[in-house]
Symmetry: C2
Subunit: 406 residues, 2 copies
């Protein structure tokens, strides 16, 4: 269902690797129907297109349905009907999984079919299955990742080429990395959906994106990026979930990332996820988080898994959530970067020390006079904002940003 | 079977996370017997130790056997008997899998049980299952990795702290990263076994370590390491397998790795594997490649998989191999690093250009006079050695090393 970029890639891989795939799953994987409202007269399977969902839902020969339409509607309704009809569903649609995952997994369980979504997080990077299976003997302490390639590309252009946010966004659009309406990427919603899916998978309770404090990168300035570099790190859009007792701290926001952390070096449109288990230590997963063939290859692998496990459900499952297990973001503890205007930088730093506790001044060769940047000690965010208001009486606070705890 | 470092970790995790594990696999995972010739009177399961393998093989209640004894004998005989008796086996023993994988997988298939070995490559890092399942829709073009943490620790001490190979090895032994007899690590055999397992998994034919050209790091000097740094990269022990038609190029050797490649930055005892699929692009896996709990957590995850899939075999399988699909290493094409003594460096470089084709001189601030280091164009190894012999008439060749193609 859906013959856009990813759908076209799925078709391409299924046709190109038909023999290899058949050998691996012990039967032919045949594309019976493709649902799309558009016409594709030049497709090698042009005769199998339909505009009518009923052609799919009512066809008992179709045992696995791929949903790569994106968006919540009509994907949600279609997927739900397919599962209820006893068809396994594979999707790359993070919006759908983040909004309806618990419900759809419950239907899949009741019908003893699979609902798989490896491609919804990290494109081609194996994440869902390794987290679920390979790290199953671990208690997962925290997950931190760069889960949106578009924003990482933009930030890297700012970091490496001194490009403004606006210019870097325009370049990303020109290269096809960013949509014409880039809000889902640059406002952080895409990364937020992905960390919600991972948190649900790992901690067992659905986390709805609305419960998660989400900041995009639109307010990140070249000055912030320069100070992060001078500090020895980089500004990255970090999606983070960590266990805190029986609750979860979860947030998506641009953060200062230390230079000795692998996430500070992730290039271009790549994604990287770091997972810390109590036994495994930190494990990293790296690769292309989006794109036609990378995403499609993850979809096809899930299809193959469905075919191989027709009568044995994958036991991926989580409970529905109310947001009650999500701690309020004001309580999350981070060191903070503060940029301020101050005629007397030394006096302002002394004031900062007094208010926040001993701060670390960031030395930058070409600092403008009348400007001061520093890192505070670790503080709960509510405490930080209160003290920052106090500090704002003595200096002109221009920007603040969290320092990632990875 | 085996209550050494990893075996102790397996027990620890199974006891510590008993409830969580039971919940995930829908039944209790109970340690019925532990085989070890030593006594463990203080173990919480001291009453379950046995010195007699027959207590395990003849106990029909034991459905999954963990082999973490290491070494080929008696592990091979014990594992074979367990599989033939219809018990699933989980192992962390790379020597066993590299030497007997095809045979043991065939027995497991015939008996419809599982033979799993996620922990044999990369410790806690999920590699086997992601390669097999998540990247199943890809044709894997190449695999390159740092698969031995001990040698990576030693090389990094040479790189970062200017320590000699001997001192770095002594430090690794002091820290418990290297065995008292470190040959398997420093001679490259451990990394070679792991790349053999991955090549078999990905290309479908067993590759015996004896078929693979393997060089360790014992001949790497501080001077090589410094020239690699001056060139903009690092010396790393690289295990590499790549598809070439229906054959495989496979090698384990120290190589110059370019600074913009993720493998050049892998720290300490960490491992990293880069896999390139035709659709996925390059995917990276990173983490602790050894150690008690990391390795044990991978073993326990495999045990859980066996319990969950009692009647459904994982379809991991490869054919036995004769080495016929392994191309001779003399034909592998690499650029080469050459270090030589030369009274007239300019003349020697001109000679090198003449013999190898246009070479790239490595500029190093503190180069000794009478010394020259350069990188040749890409050449088949047999061609390189022939031309190097010719070049040796004009200069005193002190060291050569491959430049990794990743």
């Amino acid at each position: 269902m859906g013959h856009g970029v990813v759908g076209g890639g799925v078709t391409e891989i299924l046709l190109k690797h038909a023999d290899q795939i058949a050998k691996k799953v012990n039967e032919e994987v045949y594309i019976k129907k493709v649902l799309d409202l558009r016409e594709f007269p030049d497709s090698p399977i042009a005769d199998r297109f339909t505009k009518d969902f009923n052609d799919i839902i009512s066809d008992d020969e179709i045992s696995v349905v791929v949903e790569v339409m994106g968006g919540l509607n009509p994907a949600y309704s279609f997927v739900k009907q397919c599962l209820e009809k006893g068809k396994s569903v594979v999707t790359s649609n993070k919006e759908l999984v983040a909004a309806k995952g618990a419900e759809l997994l419950a239907i899949a369980k009741a019908k003893n079919v699979n609902f798989l979504f490896e491609a919804s997080v990290g494109g081609a990077i194996p994440i869902i299955r390794p987290l679920h299976q390979c790290l199953a003997a671990n208690e997962i302490e925290k997950i931190n990742g760069i889960l949106n390639g578009t924003t990482n590309f933009i930030l890297n252009k700012m970091i490496n080429d001194n490009m403004s946010f606006e210019d870097a966004l325009a370049l990303a659009q020109e290269k096809g990395y960013a949509e014409r309406n880039p809000a889902a990427d640059i406002e952080g919603h895409d990364a937020c959906r992905k960390i919600c899916i991972l948190a649900a998978l790992v901690y067992g309770t659905h986390v709805y994106p609305e419960s998660v404090h989400t900041e995009g990168i639109t307010k990140v300035t070249l000055k912030d990026v320069e100070y992060a570099k001078a500090w020895g790190g980089a500004v990255k859009l970090i999606a983070s979930a960590r266990k805190n007792g029986s609750s979860v701290e979860i947030i998506t926001a641009p953060m200062f990332v230390s230079g000795d952390c692998q996430l500070s070096n992730v290039d271009g449109v790549y994604n990287e996820l770091l997972v810390r288990g109590d036994s495994s230590g930190t494990i990293g997963f790296y690769g292309r988080g989006a794109g036609k063939l990378p995403t499609a290859s993850a979809v096809v692998a899930d299809v193959m898994d469905c075919v191989l496990h027709k009568d044995v459900r994958r036991d991926i499952m989580w409970e529905d959530g109310t947001g009650a297990n999500v701690l309020p973001y004001e309580s999350y503890v981070n060191a903070m970067y503060v940029l301020c205007g101050a005629d007397d930088a030394a006096a302002a730093l002394a004031k900062a020390d007094e208010i926040f506790g001993k701060c670390e001044k960031i030395e930058k060769d070409d600092s403008e006079s009348g400007e001061l940047a520093f890192i505070t000690p670790e503080l709960a965010y509510s405490e930080f904002t209160a003290r920052c208001a106090e500090f704002g009486k003595a200096a002109d606070v221009k920007a603040t940003m969290r320092v990632a705890k990875i």
